[in-house]
Assembly symmetry: C2
Homo-oligomer: 337 residues x 2
């Protein structure tokens, strides 16, 4: 149905349109790429491609531009993942190696991705539900007020200050802390709920009310709160691509955590590259953008996802290369700390 040349034509159209931002016509195609046929032939091919829905013309007698479906075919069958230059690889390594903090890693990653791809970068913090507890700390702040700090093996630190029902002695808080650490240390967060249910028995009856309060906050923080943090960077890159009035819509979407999560793909269990093009996108208002995302993690374990967002007219091979490479390096960094 689509012979070899027609595919080549589609590829050429995508490439040209991405680099020039202008509808591409049969003439300019033949001399830019060395297709050994005449413009007329190309026109026939283009007519077919258009009929099949891979390209359209913005108006009669203008060049063609790819449709979402066209990009999809391009990504699936016509283009590979462009590997980074060695200079870029080194840049990534040195840039990420300097980080000393989970926050810092995430921040640097966002900047890096944005700079590498000249698109908007989106990085999700290592998922809470996939990490395990490394330490629980209770810090007395006032008579009836403590701060709860939970540290995970991925380096995430969740903190929450809370009111206690009863005034508590330093001792009883320390005891509670010991119990918590003994029972929760090393547990996957998904197990926490069941473990916590059994805890009250281990606590001095006097302290039960306080303990119960703490337990419920722990559950709230670790289990119920799905709020996975997401960081965005490089929004300035949106100005290059003219979304005309849609820009506002895009910027607004980027400020909503929930939207960003859906964007990266809630499933996200496999580390491979995911590409969502235009209307494939689950988010209303980002229907004119594409997302290239990948999971990252330590070893085989996928902790979270990261990616870039840009206009559907995006340099997919490069974006995919950058996302994949960065995801790998971030995984290494996290594994090593």
């Amino acid at each position: 149905m689509l012979d070899e040349r027609k595919l080549a034509v589609l590829r050429a159209i995508v490439e040209d349109y991405v680099s020039t931002t202008e509808p591409v016509g049969s003439k300019s195609l033949v001399d830019r790429h060395n297709l050994d046929v005449s413009p007329a032939t190309i026109r026939n091919d283009m007519a077919v491609l258009e009929e099949q829905g891979f390209i359209v013309q913005p108006h009669t007698s203008a060049g063609r531009i790819p449709t979402d479906k066209g990009y999809r075919l391009f990504v699936d069958r016509l283009s590979g993942v462009k590997p980074l230059s060695s200079a870029e690889r080194r840049a990534i390594e040195t840039f990420l190696a300097g980080a000393y903090d989970l926050d810092d890693v995430v921040m640097r990653t966002v900047r890096l991705l944005a700079q590498l791809t000249r698109q908007v970068a989106v990085v999700q913090y290592p998922s809470l539900t996939r990490s395990s507890v490394r330490h629980v700390e209770l810090v007395p702040l006032a008579a009836k007020r403590i701060m709860l700090v939970i540290i995970t093996d991925t380096g995430r630190v969740e903190q929450r200050s809370m009111e206690l029902p009863d005034a508590a002695e330093e001792d009883s808080i320390m005891h509670l802390r010991a119990v918590l650490n003994a029972c929760l240390d090393g547990r996957r967060l998904t197990e926490v709920a069941s473990v916590v249910a059994d805890l009250p028995e281990l606590v001095d009856p006097m302290d039960r009310p306080n303990a119960a309060a703490v337990f419920s906050v722990i559950l709230e923080t670790l289990v119920e709160r799905t709020d996975e943090r997401v960081v965005v960077g490089g929004a300035a890159n949106l100005t290059t691509a003219d979304f005309s009035k849609g820009l506002r819509e895009v910027l607004e979407s980027l400020e909503e955590q929930v939207v960003l999560m859906r964007l990266l793909g809630e499933s996200g269990d496999h580390p491979s590259l995911t590409v969502r093009i235009g209307a494939e996108n689950p988010v209303e208002g980002l229907r004119s953008t594409s997302v290239v995302a990948a999971g990252y993690g330590t070893g085989d374990q996928v902790l979270a996802r990261l990616g870039v967002l840009g206009p559907t007219r995006m340099d997919y091979p490069t974006a995919m290369g950058a996302v994949r490479a960065v995801a790998r390096y971030v995984g290494q960094i996290l594994a090593g700390s």
Copy 2:
């Protein structure tokens, strides 16, 4: 030099221009506001105002628009701070009251400000240098690796994972932790440097190398690192105001922490409202924007600053009202937690 009426004219011009985005002429001025004079008179006044540099015409025979100097005069002498409606006050209260976390407070504040003013909101985290230590926690992660967590009285939690020179027993870490808390608890961060200098003597000689490492990281984190965190929200509001191509520049500036700090005003010791108009702005690239900022804190203590950023053509009275009100409420919330 500028009589009463000329000032009224300037005020009217600013108000009209802000609300319509269009140059305002003598005719439309007289019937919109009830100045009891003829357009011709107004024209004379406008000629004077223009000569003095308060207004300009974009081109001959168009209306006038205010200059930075004009806005400055408007803010200083012609407009008060518009108090919020009671509905807005209630909205602020309920919205902020729901926060359970410093992070949460900051995030909510940003959203609130952005929504209230329809501008870009900028909120700085409570300054480290102005807070005091409430607790220091050392969490063993591996044989030679610990996580250092510092909690301040403003609710900020700074964390940092670090490598130790020697493997350390749980005991010696707990001891170090006790020493640190005994000596640092309640200290202003500015005092930390001198206190830490005396610490090594209190530590078992065996543990000195590890202790030294920890101390130096504490200093790095609390003292040397000026990196005050700043959060931005409502960037989508920039699209309404047409900066044309300057938009990219503005967005880029907003992604740089350092720039944002300078924007809010590094001085920032007084809690009162600060307005920076156009070229008054210290930041290259934000010369076409204005910033309305205020300090916030608990009681008389200024912890940090927050504000909004928008085009010079901005509704100053409203923005000032919102910023002032939000700053106060945030102070209250922080004081109460």
